[in-house]
């Protein structure tokens, strides 16, 4: 990859507001730069602004403020130029339910800038997502997972250089999910730039070169999984012991209803101090748990006061 290549996607202070000046702002100033061949994941809870951001990148709507460039073009105004090079899988896109799988795919292929005739292309792409055995089935008789795979097939039909996938594996059974991951991995390896949103952290961990965690329309973390996890503290937790805790260097200690949580950037050192103290004073630490930061802990800490929420759930 040449570093001074223009980025495939670039946004500056991107904003998207619904319902005019005083309306709800779903995207509040996002700066992104996605390079050619990258697989980039957008993570976030429901309402974090993932789909709203995707729709602007895809050129379905113009941003309320800020700029967006895809393949060097304005995706709304220069739609004709960029759209043929993009593949888009919406979170929820429909098919005419009285068409068969093959008819729906043929219709779509007929609208794309691809060599004709399209029959072979349609067959191949249906086989890729393992839905070719359902080619003659009416779309309305497909299961949710099969529809999702047909969705993916249509997004791939035009051999896109940039692929947008909004929750590509939601509703899939584990086997189809693996299959979809493998397919996305292959496209990535072949040089396709992929932007995907997902609820599944393992999906992002497995697939993404880099990711962004969105929260309330802003990017809270950006980078590789290692980058994102690196500056997040490790966590030690246990039920409140009989003796007050000693001073532990460089930690934050929170005492909750159910016990104590210690956040530290030096897990081994803090743990040694803690255990030495417990040993010397004969203190038992019931429910002791220690964990380094993972994408999940980072995600949950951003998504809200996760730990106490999880604890409450367990105790309820």
């Amino acid at each position: 990859m040449i570093s001074d290549d223009p980025p495939v996607i670039e946004t500056t202070r991107l904003r998207r507001r619904y319902g005019g000046e005083s309306g709800f702002e779903a995207v509040s100033g996002i700066d992104l730069r996605i390079e050619r061949g990258e697989l980039f994941a957008l993570l976030g809870t429901n309402g974090a602004g993932k789909t709203s951001t995707m729709e602007v990148l895809e050129g379905l709507v113009a941003p309320s403020d800020g700029t967006v460039r895809v393949l060097g073009c304005d995706p709304v105004r220069q739609r004709r130029l960029v759209r043929p090079r993009m593949g888009i899988m919406l979170q929820e896109g429909g098919f005419p339910t009285d068409l068969t799988v093959a008819e729906a795919a043929r219709m779509w292929a007929g609208t794309l800038s691809v060599p004709r005739p399209v029959a072979t292309r349609v067959r191949n792409v249906l086989a890729k997502v393992a839905i070719d055995d359902r080619a003659g089935t009416l779309v309305k008789q497909l299961s949710g997972g099969e529809r999702r795979r047909l969705d993916l097939a249509l997004a791939l039909l035009g051999d896109p250089e940039v692929l947008f996938l909004d929750e590509p594996t939601t509703g899939l059974d584990p086997e189809s999910r693996r299959n979809t991951w493998r397919l996305i991995g292959e496209l990535h390896a072949a040089g396709t730039t992929v932007v995907l949103t997902t609820h599944y952290l393992d999906e992002a961990e497995q697939l993404a070169d880099r990711l962004a965690i969105l929260h309330e329309g802003r990017i809270e973390r950006l980078g590789t999984v290692a980058d994102v996890v690196a500056d997040h503290p490790s966590e030690i937790s246990f039920d409140t012991p009989d003796l007050p805790l000693p001073e532990l260097d460089g930690t934050t200690v929170t005492t909750g209803r159910r016990g104590i949580t210690i956040h530290t950037h030096h897990l081994q050192r803090t743990l040694t101090q803690l255990l030495t103290w417990a040993d010397e004073h004969g203190v038992r630490l019931p429910g002791l748990r220690a964990s380094t930061a993972s994408l999940e802990t980072v995600f949950l800490s951003i998504a809200g006061d996760s730990r106490s929420a999880v604890t409450e759930e367990v105790s309820a």
Partner: protein, 275 residues
């Protein structure tokens, strides 16, 4: 920086040129398959338009159709084609495609908005034109109707009428929740269209009757009478060249409806279901 932007804007690989005609054909083909699979829409498109012409069979005397019967049959034919084949069927299709999220998906592809709407409309408009052609052949050769006096004006009437009623269908989608609701929401347009029929208009009080020529179906009916029978609204017979001179006024009314309809549709049309 500018150089970079330009370079990357050029396609990295050469993509085959696909014309709007390709895209329209793909959409129209799918839409026609869907029409074939929907019994109600099939009856609307192919059975109901036969009824006005069937009326001519008992009305014949000595192998010719009396002028009043021809007027009624042709006015009904245009009404049925525009209301059932074009307006109702398109309203139903547009709403169904919106609710199925098909319109939303199509907008993620290469088709422009206009192509999506036009591609969906093509089968209905083609059926309407085909029916007029079929009826002019069957009517002239077998049922004793005169041959169209000015086919150009007749064609203009049907095409323009189809465009007006397509835009009315687009406007009606904005207050139609699903394709079943179309049975109710289509009533206002059907109502004002029926008022545009010549003999219905004649029966109205004069103050109401004055607006009739400006209703959406009226110019279509007027142009059809001119183009096919060479008959003016006043009942005079005119020939080919004169027909053009008389056609511009109803054509203007039609154009006005088309512009108004397109503007309203453009402003209020929704591509996705209401959340």
């Amino acid at each position: 920086m500018n150089g970079n932007v330009k370079a990357s804007a050029a396609p990295a690989e050469t993509r085959p040129g696909v014309t709007p005609a390709h895209r329209l054909a793909a959409l129209a083909r799918a839409e026609f398959t869907l029409l074939r699979r929907n019994k109600l829409l099939m009856v609307n498109a192919f059975v109901i338009p036969l009824l006005p012409i069937a009326l001519l069979i008992p009305a014949r005397s000595g192998g010719r159709v009396p002028q009043e019967a021809a007027v009624i049959a042709l006015a009904l034919l245009v009404l049925v084609l525009l209301l059932f084949v074009v307006y109702y069927n398109l309203l139903s299709s547009y709403v169904a495609r919106r609710e199925e999220l098909v319109l939303k998906r199509l907008r993620t592809g290469e088709c422009s908005d206009a192509e999506i709407l036009l591609g969906t409309a093509l089968p209905a408009v083609t059926v309407a034109l085909g029916m007029v052609l079929l009826m002019s052949l069957v009517g002239t050769l077998a049922l004793g109707l005169p041959a169209p006096e000015n086919p150009i004006v007749l064609l203009l009437a049907v095409l323009g009428g189809a465009a007006v009623f397509t835009s009315l269908a687009l406007i009606t989608t904005t207050f139609t929740k699903n394709s079943e609701a179309a049975q109710i929401t289509s009533l206002p347009v059907i109502g004002i269209s029926v008022l545009g029929l010549p003999w219905v208009a004649d029966a109205l009080p004069q103050s109401v009757g004055e607006v009739v020529p400006y209703l959406p179906l009226a110019p279509v009916a007027e142009l059809t009478m001119l183009g096919w029978l060479g008959l003016t609204p006043g009942g005079d017979r005119v020939a080919f060249a004169e027909i053009f001179q008389l056609a511009w006024q109803p054509a203007l009314v039609m154009l006005a409806w088309l512009v108004l309809g397109a503007m309203v549709a453009h402003r209020y049309f929704r591509w996705e279901p209401r959340r």
